[in-house]
Amino acid sequence: MSAREKPAAATEAIKDASQRRQKEMIARHFDRLAAVSQTGERCAYTFVPGNLTELLLSFDLLPVLPEINSLQSAMRGKSADYISIAEKLGHSEDVCTYVKSDIGMLKSGNIGPTGQRLPNPDILLLSYTGCFTFMKWFELLREEYHCPVVMLHVPYQADGHITDSMRQYVVEQLRTQVIPELERVSGRRYDEDRLRECLTLSALAENDLVWVLQSAKQIPSPIDAYFGAVYYVGPIFSSFRGTDGAVAYYRELRAEIEERIRLGQGPVTPDGDVHNERFRIVVEGPPNWTSFRQFWKMFSDLGAVSVASTYTKVGGVYDMGFRHDPSRPLETLADYCLGCYTNLNLPTRIELLTRYLDEYRADGFLINSIKSCKSFSAGQLHILREVENRSGKPGGFIESDLVDPRYFSAANIKNRLESYFQMLGQRRSGGAA
């Protein structure tokens, strides 16, 4: 366990070497962002689902992801104030709290997660994939930053598959609008060879990420595929896909997990390892970020381990086979954008969850329904019933929010979780009706 840090104090989270590496990668990235006024580097704000990181990197544009900033604000306890600022400015209490946290952060000086000021965007790359709010979000930001916006409309997989027409539409937008606009903003010509190099690195990292996620098929699982995997998907969902850094990160992460499997260890949590895996759970929906550690502890205290999750697929459903393919650079970017989890229709989401329950030998599944996120939440009660019917395994349903602490009721959620896990325990011991 030499690669792992012991907590200096009882409340300090335990971190693996890969986590420390990720932290350093993020710190360097935000250092670059903070220094753009000196270095002349340019940045593009964009979204996690359907992000075109490789394309941005091929133009030497630094990605900034407002969703990540919002969740980081929540984890740092700042989102409540930011949301309050946005609501005072007229933003409705009914809408996405990521947006309001971002607006509030902007109005408070745009200080990012590392305490440094974020630069204003040189361009807003509106990759409109799987979430209606994205469109409004960047319309709102455009009013604040007065910078160019380029829209990439990604059709919805309404019938559960990608058609040639959809792919053609996305590729045409990339070719005729996104790339010319990125050329203009960056001052660089489109370099397809460079894009291919990035895509090659992406696929390498994706292979290792999938291996890590699928390691949860082991019993006991060496990872937590919801809470823990939030960290694992960080580099690939954000600014690092297509870089050597991401490849190195996932190689190191994979080695750590291989070692955990060899030692028969359970997942790492901020409060130590899970030694006694009692329940194997599939989780649907994003986590709550304001009480992330407390939320996780509610599971780990009861020996509940998430063995698969859908949230960790919002930036790409790699475990279903997709890899970025450097031989068809624009088409592969189109397929990537089209294939993100929230761009899948309800029947496909149900099939995926049912498949996870089977393949990961889970005892049940939990839906964390997020008030803010209608893309995820609308239809989840239908998902609950359908997955229960198909799998024969019980589902639990809890409600919280992304970054608004007003909608995280710890006692209520804990009570529900305890009842749910108690029921699973009774079923296992033959107490099911």
């Binding site: 400015l89 007229g90 933003h91 409705s92 009914d94 809408v95 996405c96 947006v99 509106l126 409109y128 979430c131 209606f132 709010t133 469109m135 409004k136 979000w137 319309e139 709102l140 009013e143 916006v149 829209m151 409309h153 059709p155 919805y156 309404a158 019938d159 027409s165 959809m166 053609q168 539409y169 045409e172 937008q173 005729t176 609008q177 229709n345 309800l346 029947p347 989401r349 149900i350 329904s369 008030k371 209608k374 893309s375 939440s377 609308a378 239809g379 989840q380 009660l381 239908h382 359908e386 409600e399």
Partner: protein, 391 residues
């Protein structure tokens, strides 16, 4: 002859159609023609394409306060708007059995996800999510949209609709142009003489028009126009002229519209039942009619919150509406939990404030029945305009 004045008779008939959850007009049309009927959700679908293939497009706008939601609520959390609940309720209680399918246009994530639920709840029906493009370049978004429409056309044909023929489509576009002209005419008349066209009447006509063939709707609208215009008992009141915005998908209860009028507002512009005015002008009849249908969407669609405003300025279209209608204030009137309306609202508020236009905002639900608070708010707003605007 019933002895009822013709205008009241016409409105009573329209009201019956509007309130009929069982869609008897659709059943009658199907019995008469043997054609298919396809439902569609707000805000826009190219009805012309359907009707040209002998398919009756049937506009569905959820429920009202007289629809008890029993099953629909079991599908949605408390923080989801109301229209998907009532739509599911109507589907599950058999009201929509006469429809052969449903189109779910790209409005928001809730309606998008409803399309998947619908396909599972009603597997025998045709279900199609209509991904209208947010790219408005003819060679890019236009080409995609054309492919989408052609696929819908083929799907309908497979299900028994007649093949798409250019001449039929051209003729139907003409019929819808006429219908849109009549609707525009009523809106213009309401602008000039709002006392002649109370919005609660206009609204019922627009809703009834959703579930009848376009030709019948046009006859009804033309008749109403001439009767209302000629009605000398309708005299002006000292009311404030307001534009209502935000009600393009889930519809306000008719009681809310009446409340606004009783509170001292003449509604001189709105975005209710927006499909009738989504395409702002006539669609050309010369040239390729499919291409014209596509171009109309790309070039002539209203600045709905569901539509990306690329190089445009947010709120500019609303200000144009305010100016054109002579509205003295804006009522932001959105359904609770409506992402498109509520995310758009801060930008629109900024625009009207920059222009010095008065505004107020409230939310509703389609099944709401208590309007006292809104009445007081709207009444105060109307009073403030009349007393303090200096006009």
């Amino acid at each position: 002859m019933t002895g009822v004045p013709p205008l009241a008779d016409l409105l009573a008939g329209a009201d019956r159609v509007y309130r009929d959850y069982s869609l008897q007009t659709v059943a009658d049309w199907k019995a008469r023609t043997g054609g298919l009927a396809i439902g569609y959700m707000p805000i826009y679908v190219p009805r012309e394409l359907l009707y040209a293939q002998g398919v009756l497009p049937v506009g569905l706008m959820g429920g009202r306060d007289d629809l008890e939601i029993i099953k629909g609520d079991a599908y949605y959390q408390s923080y989801i708007c109301h229209i998907p609940r009532s739509t599911i309720e109507l589907g599950l209680n058999g009201s929509l059995d006469g429809l052969d399918g449903m189109l779910f246009p790209a409005i928001c994530d809730v309606i998008r996800n409803l399309s998947g639920m619908w396909s599972m709840l009603f597997p025998e029906k045709y279900v199609r999510y209509l991904d209208v493009p947010q790219n408005f370049e003819p060679q890019v978004g236009g080409a995609f949209y054309l492919r989408e429409l052609l696929e819908i056309s083929r799907d309908l044909e497979t299900r028994g609709a007649r093949p798409l023929v250019a001449e039929n489509l051209r003729e139907v576009i003409g019929a819808y142009n006429e219908n849109r002209r009549l609707v525009r005419g009523l809106y213009e008349l309401r602008c000039r003489q709002p006392w002649k066209v109370p919005t609660h009447e206009l609204y019922v006509l627009l809703r009834a028009s959703l579930v009848m063939p376009v030709e019948e709707s046009s006859v009804m609208l033309a008749k109403y126009t001439s009767l209302a215009e000629a009605d000398e008992t309708r005299q002006p009141l000292d009311q404030a002229r307001v534009a209502v915005t935000g009600s393009f998908c889930e519809q306000p209860p008719i009681g809310l519209i009446r409340t606004l009028e009783r509170a001292g507002c003449y509604i001189v512009d709105d975005d209710f039942v927006q499909i009738h005015r989504y395409i702002e002008h006539d669609i050309p009849l010369d040239g390729d009619p499919m291409n014209n249908l596509v171009t109309a969407y790309l070039r002539d669609g209203v600045a709905s919150p569901t539509r990306y405003i690329g190089d445009g300025v947010k709120g500019e279209a609303l200000l144009r509406r305010v100016k054109a209608s002579g509205a003295e204030g804006v009522l932001f009137c959105a359904p609770s939990f409506c992402d498109p309306a509520l995310l758009d609202q801060p930008m629109l508020v900024n625009a009207v404030e920059r222009a010095g236009v008065s505004w107020t905002a409230f939310k509703y639900s389609e099944n709401g029945g208590q309007f006292q608070v809104i009445r007081e708010q709207a009444g105060t707003f109307a009073d403030s305009i009349k007393l303090w605007s200096g006009k």
